[in-house]
């Protein structure tokens, strides 16, 4: 499985390096633009990383959309882009479950690497610009989870579109509905603390989403592969 992960990471860092560099430049220059335009807010760090939607400035909206688009693009590239490089050789040697798991690991490792770099450099930039941010390791972890969630949801959406099966879409919506209802009622009843804490709620949603992702992608990986030829 590590072959697939290394193969995917190499593909992303070699073939998508221009996108990654563009993303880093924009994200790292964002605080400077904000400082120049004097639109610094308390939660600027969150806005910078696409973690919070704020419509008080056009720049904030652009930043939010840009962050989301970047991660969706990279995640889709991990799932689709490298299928032309020897994956037909790999498919016959490995089962679908391992392929799906390897994609999750690749996406998570990529997100972890990029967001760690962004987190460290942004902290330095904000310090140099004398902007006070309350960024912490927890924020960093939330940032990671948030991006992984965006990516996984986009893959689930893609798989559903590829399936084009109305019953399947309804089934997925039903599962998501059950999750939301159960999380607010059943799980809250079991331990109210869990859902007072947004971070833990996010972890629960990540686990839930991962299970759905594995089920959906394991079924649709051939369809995705078929479209990539």
């Amino acid at each position: 499985m590590h072959f697939l992960i290394i193969n995917d990471l190499k593909y992303i860092f070699f073939k998508r390096k221009n996108w990654i560099i563009l993303y880093l430049i924009i994200v790292l220059l964002f605080p400077i633009f904000c400082k120049i335009n004097n639109i610094i807010k308390d939660d600027i760090f969150f806005i910078n990383n696409g973690l919070k939607f704020d419509n008080s400035s056009f720049l904030f909206i652009i930043m939010y959309i840009f962050n989301i688009i970047f991660y969706i693009f990279i995640y889709l590239s991990i799932h689709l882009g490298n299928l032309k490089i020897g994956v037909d050789n790999i498919f016959l040697r490995i089962n679908k479950f391992k392929i799906v798991i390897s994609k999750i690991i690749t996406c998570s490792v990529f997100t972890l690497l990029i967001s760690t770099f962004v987190f460290i450099v942004l902290n330095i930039i904000y310090n140099i610009l004398n902007i006070n941010i309350n960024s912490s390791f927890i924020v960093f972890i939330i940032f990671n989870i948030f991006n992984i969630l965006i990516g996984m949801l986009s893959i689930i959406a893609l798989s559903v579109v590829l399936y084009g099966n109305k019953k399947y879409i309804l089934f997925l919506l039903l599962i998501y509905m059950i999750y939301y209802i159960s999380r607010k009622n059943i799980l809250f009843f079991i331990n109210p603390y869990l859902f007072e804490n947004n971070f833990i709620d996010l972890i629960f949603f990540l686990i839930f989403n991962t299970i759905i992702y594995i089920i959906v992608l394991k079924k649709s990986i051939v369809k995705i592969f078929e479209r990539s030829f």
Partner: protein, 210 residues
């Protein structure tokens, strides 16, 4: 091993590519598929490998429905269209990476299969420096190296010099003697006629015994 195609249809959007295919493949035989470019040979081979799913019908490997099982076919290796390897690795490194997935064979066995396809002198060359013929030979080495039960080759002699082509034909006949299923597609009739026990003609999405 027994492979069966039962009423298999394949469409892309609304365009039919394969129409009502009913075929059986058994051990110890070489099957040839002849057809002009675009006749549906590659789509047929991709269905066989589980890379495509039939729009209608079933493909069975030892009575297991490939689509329902959610698995790729067992002990099957293929070279379809052009070989795909990582360009920045050598031929040997590429095969070793693939062999590491299942860890069935040793480095010596990889070198042995590279010798078989006449790539001994080029194993340390990067894949991106390989000629078309060398890439094809590496693709065939990849197919043979783990001793699969089913061998699927699409235009296997593309760009290969006569001497190596002869050698590969000999290897395929040896593999047949080991009771394997070998399926070869080509648009060159002579390639197929020389090797195949049973020849199928692919024409306009229909596959018929020639």
């Amino acid at each position: 091993m027994k492979i069966e195609f039962k009423n298999v249809n394949k469409k892309f959007k609304k365009t039919p590519i394969l129409k009502n295919v009913n075929l059986e493949f058994e051990n110890g035989k070489i099957y040839g598929l002849i057809g002009r470019n675009g006749s549906g040979k590659s789509v047929f081979l991709k269905l066989l490998c589980g890379f495509y799913e039939p729009t209608e019908g079933q493909i069975y490997f030892d009575n297991v429905d490939l689509k329902k099982s959610g698995l790729f076919p067992p002990s099957t290796r293929s070279l379809i269209e052009k070989p795909n390897f990582l360009p920045y690795l050598t031929g040997f490194e590429n095969l070793k990476l693939l062999a590491n997935i299942q860890k069935k064979i040793s480095d010596e066995q990889i070198i042995e299969v590279l010798n078989k396809v006449n790539l001994t002198n080029d194993i340390n060359k990067k894949y991106c420096e390989y000629s078309l013929g060398m890439k094809q030979k590496l693709g065939i080495a990849q197919v043979l190296m783990e001793d699969p039960e089913v061998i699927i080759l699409d235009e296997p002699f593309n760009g290969i010099e006569d001497e190596t082509a002869k050698k590969i034909r000999k290897i395929l006949l040896e593999e047949k003697e080991k009771n394997k299923i070998i399926i070869i597609a080509s648009h060159i009739k002579e390639d197929i006629e020389e090797l195949a026990d049973i020849v199928f003609k692919v024409d306009n999405g229909e596959i018929l015994e020639a």
